[in-house]
């Protein structure tokens, strides 16, 4: 009970509430601007969260996360352009409603759906994450090493059409994570150690500059390619009645429940992400509404049902993706990978340890997610006529501002040690340029981040397991849970290959 109250107080104080509100507004704006993703928004705010207390910092990032996920529906509905891939399914019925003169209801419906999805998945997160975390008590080094491998292979296999490209970038992330000093023997693992032994490279690659570079700077360079568009013309749509009829929403209970289930489940599977969840829920809603007995409007005809289903699923992913992130240390999608990175930088170790030793922080995270969803609902409904105006901000202003924020954000982490801070700016820029070319070549970026996050966990537990087994490398095939994880890893790699053959 004490921990519950402590968690509550860590979030419900003036300072934290203001930071969450700020994060929420920034998130909605970032989400509404096509091309700027939730992941990028979180990565940009990590340096600021780093300066705040653990709970406040995480709450700020959760605010950005929820805001950006829901904000993407604004251009999807008004312009037919999704703010990010998560809102693609919202375009179909949402934009059709705008053409019918029902833009207000579509926007309001999307916000209410996002709130329902977010809160429902939060309840599932609260119920299941402690249980899953408890299960990790049965994990020894062998199981943990295999778990890290599962996280890497799943995200590598589902984040791109080309499995080899996903695996290669995952390996790149792993290779970068090993730079620095060996944690067990203190041996230097840097190129040309005689020359670089006294440089910041000995501490390895800092996670925050890497995240900012890979998600912020690479996106800046990609967005430059479409700078000729100037800016998107703000929609000239009359937004009248915003709040959708509650009776109508209540009649959609089946669509809402199924979309919540799909969103939370897909979110909880590492690497899958919201873009899969929204399409699955949209298709499911299509099936439900096409039944002759169903009294709801048919999804696909430009109706509220077609907005509610993907938006519920979209936001249900936020809670779902946090389940493996908090309980296992394996992020559900790229955005939670950045959130997880921010947690690790704060010295928070996900898993049973977090739930047993820092339960107040866990409660604080739950309260923060709740508050973020409440703010998302409030701000989106209040600002429903205001937020679409951000679409008028010229790219010529946005891109340089994000670039400078990315560079200074990377610098700020070690801002008191100027040389290390400048080195971090260099890391962010180098990885940003690398990320740009990789994205252009169709290589996914998320596995690099996963490699960077899970590399340490994998190596540490792999070596510990082999050592404890007396140098036996086959120890991983002697433990049932480890075998299960290895099977899962093989399955995640084999499945896309089998699908291709079909």
């Amino acid at each position: 009970m004490e921990e519950l109250i402590s968690g509550f107080l860590q979030i419900f104080n003036v300072g934290t509430i203001l930071w969450v509100a700020l994060g929420e507004v920034l998130g909605i704006i970032l989400g509404a601007l096509p091309g700027l993703t939730a992941t990028m928004g979180i990565a940009l705010m990590v340096p600021i969260s780093f300066q705040l207390s653990k709970a406040t910092g995480i709450a700020l990032l959760l605010g950005v996360y929820c805001g950006a996920v829901s904000g993407a529906s604004i251009p999807a509905i008004l312009l037919g352009i999704p703010g990010n891939p998560n809102a693609i399914a919202t375009v179909y019925d949402g934009h059709a409603m705008t053409k019918k003169g029902l833009a207000g209801q579509a926007l309001g419906g999307a916000v209410v759906a996002s709130f329902i999805g977010g809160i429902a998945s939060l309840i599932i997160l609260v119920l299941f994450s402690p249980l899953i975390a408890k299960m990790t008590l049965a994990f020894g080094p062998a199981e943990k090493a295999c778990l890290a491998m599962v996280g890497l292979t799943i995200i590598a296999s589902v984040s791109t059409k080309n499995l080899a490209k996903g695996i290669l970038t995952g390996l790149l992330g792993l290779s970068l994570s090993l730079l620095g000093t060996d944690p067990f023997s203190n041996a230097l693992r840097i190129p040309f150690p005689d020359l670089l032994a006294k440089t910041p490279l000995t501490s390895g690659i800092n996670l925050i500059p890497a995240l900012i570079g890979l998600f912020g700077i690479s996106q800046v360079l990609l967005d430059l390619e479409r700078i000729k568009q100037g800016h998107i013309a703000p929609p000239q749509v009359k937004i009248d009645r915003v709040f959708p009829p509650l009776k109508k929403i209540a009649r959609m209970w089946r669509v809402i429940i199924e979309s919540t289930g799909i969103g939370t489940l897909i979110g909880a599977i590492p690497g899958t992400g919201a873009s899969i969840a929204v399409f699955l829920s949209y298709e499911r809603a299509k099936n439900i509404t096409s039944s002759p007995k169903c009294k709801l409007e048919k999804v696909g005809s430009g109706c509220l049902e077609g907005v509610i289903a993907p938006e519920v699923a979209n936001n249900a992913v936020t809670g779902g993706a946090l389940i493996p992130a908090l309980s296992l240390g394996i992020p559900g999608d790229a955005a939670t990978a950045v959130l997880l990175g921010a947690l690790l930088i704060k010295g928070v170790v996900p898993g049973y340890q977090l739930f047993s030793q820092e339960m107040s922080l866990v409660y604080a995270i739950f309260f923060a997610l709740f508050l973020s969803n409440v703010f998302m609902l409030t701000f989106q409904l209040i600002g429903v006529r205001l937020f679409p105006k951000v679409l008028a901000v010229p790219m010529a202003i946005l891109i340089p501002t994000i670039l400078v924020l990315s560079l200074i954000g990377s610098y700020a982490i070690q801002g008191q040690a100027i040389l290390s801070a400048i080195f971090d700016m260099g890391v962010a820029l180098a990885l940003g340029i690398l990320g740009y070319f990789l994205k252009k070549g169709g290589y996914p970026i998320a596995p690099i981040v996963l490699g960077l996050i899970l590399g340490g966990m994998f190596e540490e537990n792999f070596r510990r397991a082999v050592k404890l087994a007396g140098g036996n490398y086959f120890v991983f095939f002697t433990k049932p849970i480890a075998i299960l994880f290895i099977a899962l890893a093989i399955f995640s790699v084999a499945l896309p290959l089998l699908k291709k053959r079909k």
């Binding site: 290669l168 190129p191 252009k440």
Partner: protein
């Protein structure tokens, strides 16, 4: 993306993997502290293993991408120029950040990028107006920074020398500085509103105003609120 560009990425990865493997072999092979029996795979086992895996996948992708016949997407020359100038300026920004300082280097980077992004191209005949705009923006930026520093110092001194300690509180000083600078900024914006509408002055003036606003805002957030040590460089006061 061009076929040649598609092949370049696996080639770069092949070279990176080879270098990684060579360097991994040069890592001192030390065992885990306390591992008397020598059962720990050692400090270079993992890098070597990952290096070889990366090499294998890169070689596979090299052959696969070579056979692939995806359509070619090329960038226009203006976009290429903008991307190159962004990367070059960012590199220079990082290299000179310590010596030139946050205010001046950020001012140059932001003004240059905003100006050319608005123009959507880089041509020699733009350089005259660009240089004048950059000089004016830098001068105004220094003035803004100096006013901000003066306000902060003034409040700090009042707080120290009087009984009103609140004046030297971090948030109070930051808040007042922010308000004073915002007032000056928006007054200037009002004074120049007619000139901004003029086609000839529009882009340099907008670039200048945005540069000053963003630079000062970042300075206040990171330096005055979070006490990040942003390099002073040439502006030593």
């Amino acid at each position: 993306m061009k076929k040649t560009t598609r092949i370049i990425i696996p080639i770069v990865f092949i070279f990176f993997s080879l270098l990684y493997i060579i360097l991994s072999f040069s890592i001192e092979q030390r065992k885990m502290i306390g591992d008397e029996m020598g059962w720990d795979p050692g400090s270079r086992a993992m890098p070597i293993g990952i290096g070889f895996l990366m090499l294998g996948v890169s070689i596979y992708l090299f052959f696969k991408e070579g056979r692939s016949g995806e359509e070619e997407i090329t960038l226009d020359s203006a976009s290429k120029k903008l991307i190159i100038i962004t990367i070059m300026l960012s590199i220079l920004y990082i290299l000179f950040f310590r010596f030139v300082g946050f205010i001046l280097s950020t001012n140059v980077l932001l003004f240059t990028l905003i100006y050319f992004y608005y123009k959507r191209d880089i041509k020699w005949n733009m350089m005259r107006n660009f240089s004048i705009g950059l000089l004016a923006s830098t001068g105004t930026m220094i003035l803004f920074y100096s006013i901000g520093r003066f306000v902060t110092h003034f409040l700090f001194l009042i707080g120290r020398r009087s009984n009103f300690e609140i004046f030297s509180g971090r948030l109070f000083m930051t808040g007042v500085t922010f308000l004073v600078l915002s007032f000056i900024f928006f007054t200037m914006l009002l004074l120049f509103r007619k000139a901004i509408k003029n086609e000839n002055f529009r882009i340099p003036l907008l670039s200048g105003f945005i540069t000053i606003g963003v630079t000062e805002f970042i300075y206040i957030i990171f330096k005055q609120i979070f006490w990040v040590s942003l390099a002073k460089g040439l502006i030593f006061w």
